[in-house]
Symmetry: C2
Subunit: 377 residues, 2 copies
Amino acid sequence: MSFQLLKTDTETNARLGVLTTAHGEVTTPIFMPVGTQGTVKTLTPQNLHNAGAEIILGNTYHLYLRPSREVLENAGGLHPFMQWDKPILTDSGGFQVFSLKELTKMYSYGVEFRSHIDGSKHLFTPESVVDIQRSIGSDIMMVLDECPPNPSSYEYVKKSIALTTSWAKISREHFLSTTGYYGFEQLQFGIGQGSIYPSLRKESIKQLCEIGFDGYAIGGLAVGETTAEMYDILNVVVPEYPQDKPRYLMGVGTPANILRAIQKGVDMFDCVMPTRNARNGTLFTTTGKVNIRNVKYRLNLDPIDPGLGNTYANNFSLSYLRHLFISGETLALHLATLQNISFYMWLVRTAKEKIRNGTFRQWSNNFIETYYPEKNV
Amino acid sequence: MSFQLLKTDTETNARLGVLTTAHGEVTTPIFMPVGTQGTVKTLTPQNLHNAGAEIILGNTYHLYLRPSREVLENAGGLHPFMQWDKPILTDSGGFQVFSLKELTKMYSYGVEFRSHIDGSKHLFTPESVVDIQRSIGSDIMMVLDECPPNPSSYEYVKKSIALTTSWAKISREHFLSTTGYYGFEQLQFGIGQGSIYPSLRKESIKQLCEIGFDGYAIGGLAVGETTAEMYDILNVVVPEYPQDKPRYLMGVGTPANILRAIQKGVDMFDCVMPTRNARNGTLFTTTGKVNIRNVKYRLNLDPIDPGLGNTYANNFSLSYLRHLFISGETLALHLATLQNISFYMWLVRTAKEKIRNGTFRQWSNNFIETYYPEKNV
């Protein structure tokens, strides 16, 4: 058994768990920094470790195109290739492929697409996506799914989840009839879809549970629906997910989104927000968002985020980090990314502490209202 | 006394010395990584320290425009601002200002220029350049000099060195009649000019020595003359420089340039080459230059430069670093810069060892011929 539920909060549906992988244990709830192309942008593995990262995400679509299965297999997989020895989860590439829109062609057996790099034609099938993730050697692989665009009609989504379920079945069979390339065991998660339709969401996860996976993701959210809609769906859907398996909300989200979803019983998260926004000069801190380019930080010698204590980024002042951004220095992107990943890891670490000592509801509500207030939710 | 000569090589004019500054000792010959805008591009101070850097260079022109004297003084100088606690040398801004060409206007009392950032008008005088370097709080400041373009006529250069000497005199007087802003002692170096004219070069350094500085730079080389011309000038000029003071060859150069100049008795170097070329994918290694984008490294799992031993960059393979460059990842710039700075520091560290044990001539000639051969020299 790869997941152990340690505690369920009495005031919320928050859970405390341990996910065991071939590259070590991950305590949940957890946030996974996104390392699209075999690097969490601007950070070394040592930086990630120091920032508190326990597991990172890689993108199957990107890694398949570049560096390629051949290069990854030559290196013995993504772990030695990028020198990250803790767990890695890889998505299935479905989300990226369907984002290409006019460059894709759907078939019952898979999806044909053109590379965003050179226009070359490729086919992803449920089986090939398992094989690619064997080449990557991720600890947790995701199945190929169809991500319906938002908005989509009930009828479209109904057909879509039937396809997603049939692909999930093929994926699981292929996964169970093959073995990893590098001598360690990989896990496989299914992905529930259903857009904003509660009955289809329930149907999708029911079908996935019948197939049986090591964990279950909530896919197709944070794709344009309102935050209120997303929370409504989570309220309906999360209770339908198995108690004894990890629940992974894909591509979410803001600090408030993550705490709310933890309250609703979600265990795992990934999002480009902390890394992408860092590169735009938006810092996430223990006292709210900071636009570091603002002139008010020009002479501010305070550390970047005193609430995080002794992080490497806290060696530097807001004044210095602002100077680096204004001057277009690469070190700005590095320090801001360090800050944001350190903050996101602090956020889930603190959530775990609060769940453990029974104060999670009060702390998380108060933290959101004080520092990351949500509108119309 | 800020400089102690420990040994002069018997087979070459190479010297071993110790330069004492308010932020610690520097053993010479030394290479100073260039940190133009208060950061050696892509590296943290910790990275620099780990790469073996003992002293770095800052650019007065850039720091004056951005972040500005006010921001630097507010932080207590460049050391605390950028969190680098070892020595810093700052150039005078003269080289940058004269590179602006049509944006400058020369007067006997200084040089007027327009900012490359916003076109605003500024004046550098020998005195103001001392004051700016007081605000920066560098351990070693350089005097304002005129850098004649290459080629320049004998007549032009003759007038130019007269101006440079008169500015040097004003600079020294202003330096000696003021004190540092942050409670530690700064040093001041003069800059000899004279283009490719031996007699003017000799005249310039003679006049500077009469004023008296803590060290002396060889300016106006590596500005378009051939390598053979540069070496010829060094052969003539270096012996004219005082024995008991450090000799700094500004803006030089390739690994071969540095070793040849050390053979000729130069003690200090700075150059953007290792950092700038790193960002273009050119690595300097203990076995020669590497164009990391070359397809021949696609499946090469060797560390980046085994000759450097246990550096952080050596955790990664050529295959991985190539992938990062091909994919346009910022981490590529970081790791390549780490490699190149580690190599340049290894180069001068090894030169010191070889001078110490009396094998410098043989080692340096052999190293250049084997790994960094020079043409037409």
